[in-house]
């Protein structure tokens, strides 16, 4: 029983094997990709392992506190930011091995030419609640 975050990067991950930008796919290939993602999430709901999945807009704003009585300062978006998150899925699984297995399946989503993208997904464990029995 452990939760993992599967992070999909726009930038920052190593290059995928089938590394063709989505705007150069055919519309059918895009549909097939979307269907794969949808089916994957639905299947995880069926196995009782799905927690959450969200996609993020590529452009964000940096915000920071600027002192008492002043509005927060905003900056960006920065075109040069090295790491850019595209979206995530949260899963609740019995083992690390199962999390790796599922991440591998998600990375097999079809892309250009209908072939798997082999995209690198980042797998991060959630910090848990502390166990009751420690010594």
């Amino acid at each position: 029983m452990a939760k993992y975050l599967l992070l999909k990067h726009y930038r920052g991950a190593p290059a995928a094997v089938n590394d063709v930008p989505m705007d150069q796919w055919t519309p059918e290939e895009i549909s097939a990709h979307m269907q794969y993602m949808h089916d994957f999430a639905a299947r995880l709901e069926g196995t009782g392992e799905f927690v959450d999945g969200q996609a993020l807009a590529p452009e964000g704003t940096f915000v920071r506190y600027d002192g008492e009585g002043r509005p927060p300062v905003t900056d960006g978006p920065f075109a040069e930011t090295k790491d850019l998150i595209a979206g995530w899925m949260v899963i609740d699984v019995d083992s690390y091995e199962r999390a790796v297995e599922l991440a591998g399946e998600l990375s097999a989503a079809p892309g250009a030419g209908g072939k798997p993208i082999h995209e690198w997904l980042e797998l991060r464990p959630f910090l848990t609640a502390p166990p009751t029995i420690r010594e």
């Binding site: 029983m1 709901e45 069926g46 609740d92 910090l127 848990t128 502390p130 009751t132």
Partner: protein, 381 residues
């Protein structure tokens, strides 16, 4: 309304339906429906015979569902309204439900969810909240678990060890939502102990009671962890400790030692010490030796190294630690602690910081970061 009573009746009512010939999955749904109905009706109109009421309502709901299904399939399965009493069960129904819900074909998380619902009488929503997953996900996990065990014969004897592992997980892992999982684990283990005479069931119950007794002192008001040595022992629950010790002593007297009895014995030695300094670490090391023989778990050997460090000094503890794989969870934290006791504050501070980065949960990470900061501040002076 007495919700504890209501939920304690769950396994017996479910057992009766299954004995009458209902399949487990449908019977379980029917019992849940009956529990919901009871919560609605009982406050204004409490039944004289709560169990009889639940059986009647659950059986009616089972028949309604079965008839609706049958109609949909255009079949004419006739179900007897008043079934003949089945053969006298050889094994207690409640016990059979524990076995079924902890069946080895289930994954740990499925077994936990099914146990909490079918034996504990919790709703899917409550279980979902306790494990921080969406209700739909938990519903699927439970119905999948029911399908997995649907072919298992109800009167087949099971393995107590698998049940104990599930109950241990309920006690030890999970989040505090509406449901107090630790208290629920104790209730379910107590109920199991009343059903089957087994020293390891008693051992687990004692272990839970002894740890539960310290619960109020384990975290500070700000949520930070308080290590055992710094806990306010005057606030430990002496009734819970006394009960745990009594149950443990009766179990140990039967001379069939198992890992839960050994763990409980260690917890009892901690509970017995009026101050941390008076802890009988020599005996604790001996119990860890027993435990290592019983389980061969690297975590046990890690905890043993801590105990050796207390009994024979930090150098001895570090020597015991050196024999273990440093990739073990909490290995670095233990090394940091032993180096601090040995007076090597620079190494201890560095290891505490490293342990914090590898901590599997937030309170432990914060605790280790504070330890590193405390030593760094002292060295900076």
């Amino acid at each position: 309304m007495d919700e504890a009573l209501l939920r304690s009746l769950t396994p017996r009512v479910l057992g009766i339906l299954v004995r009458r010939g209902a399949d487990f999955a449908a019977a379980e749904d029917a019992v849940q429906d009956a529990l919901v109905e009871a919560v609605r009706v009982w406050p204004a109109d409490p039944p004289r015979d709560p169990k009889g009421w639940l059986v009647t309502v659950a059986w009616r709901k089972f028949l309604d569902t079965t008839r609706a299904d049958a109609a949909r399939r255009r079949r004419e399965d006739l179900v007897e309204e008043e079934p003949a009493p089945g053969p006298t069960p050889a094994v207690d129904d409640t016990l059979q439900l524990y076995f079924l819900c902890a069946h080895p074909s289930l994954t740990p998380s499925s077994a936990v969810a099914l146990t909490l619902r079918a034996v504990g009488g919790l709703t899917t929503r409550q279980i979902a909240q306790a494990y921080l997953v969406p209700e739909a996900t938990m519903a699927q996990r439970i119905s999948r678990a029911k399908r997995t065990v649907s072919g298992v014969r109800f009167d087949q004897p099971g393995d107590v060890a698998t049940v104990l592992r599930v109950l241990y997980l309920v006690f030890n892992e999970g989040y505090s939502g509406d449901v107090d999982l630790a208290a629920e684990a104790i209730r379910l283990t107590r109920q199991l102990a009343a059903t089957i005479d087994h020293p390891e069931v008693a051992g687990l119950l004692a272990l839970m009671l002894l740890h539960h007794a310290r619960r109020a002192t384990r975290t500070a008001p700000d949520g930070s962890l308080v290590p055992l040595a710094e806990q306010d022992r005057s606030r430990w629950d002496t009734r819970s400790i006394a009960e745990g010790v009594e149950i443990l002593q009766a179990a140990l007297a039967r001379d069939r030692l198992g890992e839960f009895q050994a763990q409980a014995a260690i917890a009892a030695l901690h509970a017995d010490a009026p101050t941390a300094g008076e802890t009988d670490w020599v005996q604790i090391v001996e119990w860890y030796d027993e435990l290592a023989r019983l389980t061969d778990s690297p975590i046990v050997r890690l905890n043993r190294a801590v105990a050796v460090g207390e009994a024979d000094g930090p150098r001895a503890g570090l020597a015991a630690l050196a024999a273990l794989d440093d990739a073990l969870p909490r290995h670095t934290a233990v090394a940091a602690y032993l180096h601090e006791r040995d007076g090597d504050l620079a190494t201890a501070a560095r290891l505490y910081a490293e342990a914090a980065r590898r901590a599997p949960n937030l309170p432990e990470r914060d605790h280790l970061t504070r330890q590193a900061a405390r030593l760094n501040a002292r060295r900076g002076r």
